[in-house]
Amino acid sequence: MKKMNKVVSVMSAAVIALSMLAGCGDTAADTAGTGDAGSASGDKVFKIGAIGPLTGGAAAYGNAVCNAAELAVAEINANGGINGYQVEYKKQDDELNAEKSVNAYNTLKDWGMQVLVGSTTSACSIAVSEYTKADNMFQLTPSGSAEDCVKYDNAFRVCFSDPNQGIASAQYISDHNLATKVGIIYDSSDVYSSGIYQKFVQESEGKNFEVVSAEAFTADNNTDFSVQLQKAKDAGADLVFLPIYYKEAALILTQASTMGYAPTFFGVDGLDGILTVENFDVSLAEGVMLLTPFAADATDDLTVNFVKNYQEKYGEIPNQFAADAYDAVFIIKQAMEAKGVTPDMSVSDICEAVKGAMTEIEASGLTSAKMTWAANGEPNKEPKAVIIKDGAYVSAQ
């Protein structure tokens, strides 16, 4: 019996070891076999990868980024590729988990990725940048807005950083004399929301308005906002600043109207999408102002075409995440063309070339007609304020 035990345990050990090895084999086969978009016209192709939460609670953001990047790559390929080379594209899921995001990055690296569009969310993007730095791979995050996302010189971003949004909002409110007393409702468990909140409060010192209430909620209790609204109301706030995502904002607007409180609501780019919330009375959003780089119903040709193509392919109206990602791919294209990058260059050489080009180019896209970058990775573009009128965004100038 004892001998049997021994035999069985040795066997089971072998099976485990083998199963792990078999696992490695599988991934290798996968990465060689699957290319989602674009077929190579010649023998050389560019390989662009994207990472985002494709499953779970934040799937809307990840899917927007990955779909829009896919769309952009398809358009580039249809028009002859980058420097005459076709582009292959692949997306990976990170489930909004920094650990999984690094795994996703490694998977893409095995596939042969040369440039990364991602990660979609801040914490994931920071974790991944640690690895792109080590590999010297060019990383352009469409929507990673925390300060640390671009702390390495190989990382750039398309969206505004959280601090920039806070500062821009405070300045806008002050410059346009929108309020004297400001209440804030923010999500203290969310990096994006608390980042903007912190900078907004710092920036509002010495401005012509006063922050009279700042109430937090967390991801675990984000359905009832009557307490936060009551406090803002009691403090006499005539403007409520909402540095949060649109889902909670829709609830806040509904609850404010139930309790008969009607201040000006002012939001940031996370509020984009509020008009598409199901069962939300759009008339409640009337007069809401938001700073956003993108509005899906803008009338310029680029936006109209993008919204039309996106809707045809994925069946929904793109949000600002999608716009950022779409721009990101075209920015990479422009930077690569500026330096004449070819696919046979090493990842590190491509990174050096694109990095150099980033500070020289002036890109124009969905999220701004004129974007430039500083070497620290921060974009320089004008924030646009829009106001919701008759159920649509209009420029608030």
Binding site: V8, I16, C24, L96, E99, N103, A123
Partner: protein
């Protein structure tokens, strides 16, 4: 020298871990390991470590804890905090070692403190309290703001503006944004060493006089008490050791990923239940089984990446099938009939 059955079984466990280590190192050295797999090795070791810790609590002590990720969270944050302050002062090796001591120490301390009220409870009640504890830890850490400047440490529970720091200040813990920029010290070798040490601690504890006392409490509380076993003392001991090992897993966690946030996807009850799944599928009370289950179940969704979103579905189906194959009495009977006298090692402890 003749080894008894138990020491032999323990040695086999070490041998499996070491063999896996050697295989992976050889593969990595010869360049046959994809970077995806390389990236998975460290997480695999710390999930195996915390599965061992939880198995001590659930399998050996017999108390259901679904807040073990809370201890992992404490280990992760205290050690990351230490490493962040001393990143420029101490060289890597002693700093990482001290980080381990601090992470393990704090997790054990909290294990002890939580154990005092919690271990008076039994069964479901204990499970609920540990669940609450895990959530509380997460939320408390989310409210911490700690910064450092030339005047020393600043502390606030409100927001980072309250810290009142000088311009040269550096925020160490920034509320919900957690700790970013922890040095990346963890690697596969360290992970395996930690796993071996925790296996050594748990397996020797189980085979010792104390371990037998702990299992006696699990099997029959009243009988154990009537034979003069100090029930509270032994329960505390097992629970604290379990928390300490979970803290070690946390240290590996925080030094493997540079962004550490106390959010639910890492330290919430879902994460704790995932660890419980590792333990249950590996076999409650079967230490080796939980290591193997943790590795397989962590690898599975990653290796199924090629199937994109379907992998979640497949993962759940695999869980159900594994559960049935391992535990359904009918299937066990069928297995016995079909495979005759082949008896899987360790399975008898489980039954």
């Amino acid at each position: 020298m003749k080894l008894d059955k138990k020491s032999k079984s323990n040695l086999i466990t070490y041998a499996i871990v070491i063999a896996a280590y050697i295989i992976f190192q050889v593969l990595a050295m010869t360049g046959n390991l994809s970077s995806h797999m390389k990236g998975l090795l460290v997480p695999m070791t710390y999930y195996a470590v915390i599965a061992v810790a939880l198995n001590l609590c659930v399998g050996i002590l017999g108390e259901l804890s679904i807040g073990h990720c809370g201890f992992m969270c404490i280990g992760a944050f205290t050690s990351a905090f230490f490493s962040k302050i001393t990143a420029d002062i101490l060289p890597t090796a002693p700093r990482f070692f001290l980080a381990f001591l601090i992470g393990i120490g704090f997790a054990a301390l909290f294990g002890f403190l939580i154990g005092i009220p919690v271990l008076r409870l039994k069964g479901d009640y204990l499970a609920i309290v540990t669940l609450a504890f895990g959530e509380i830890i997460k939320n408390v850490i989310n409210a911490f703001y700690i910064g450092i400047d030339k005047n020393g440490l600043h502390f606030s529970m409100k927001n980072s503006m309250e810290l009142g720091m000088e311009a040269d200040g550096n925020i160490l813990v920034n509320g919900a944004m957690g700790i970013t920029g922890t040095p990346h010290d963890a690697n596969f070798t360290v992970g395996i060493v930690v796993l071996l040490i925790s296996l050594f601690v748990v397996q020797n504890l189980v085979n010792s006089r104390d371990g037998r006392a702990i299992m006696a409490i699990r099997d029959n509380y009243i009988a154990a008490e009537s034979t003069g076993i100090n029930v509270t003392g032994y329960k505390m001991m097992a629970f604290t050791i379990s928390a300490a090992i979970a803290g070690a897993a946390g240290v590996l966690f925080s030094h493997n990923i540079t962004t550490l946030t106390a959010s639910s996807q890492y330290f919430g009850y879902n994460a704790s239940i995932m660890i419980l799944v590792y333990v249950v599928l590996g076999g409650i009370g079967n230490i080796r089984g939980s290591v193997i289950a943790a590795c397989i179940l962590y690898l599975l969704p990653e290796l199924l990446r090629g199937l994109s979103t379907y992998r979640m579905l497949i993962y759940s189906i695999v869980l159900i099938i594994m559960m049935i194959v391992n535990w359904s009495p009918k299937v066990i009977e069928w297995r016995k009939k079909t495979f005759g006298k082949v008896k899987l090692p360790g399975r008898k402890e489980v039954a």
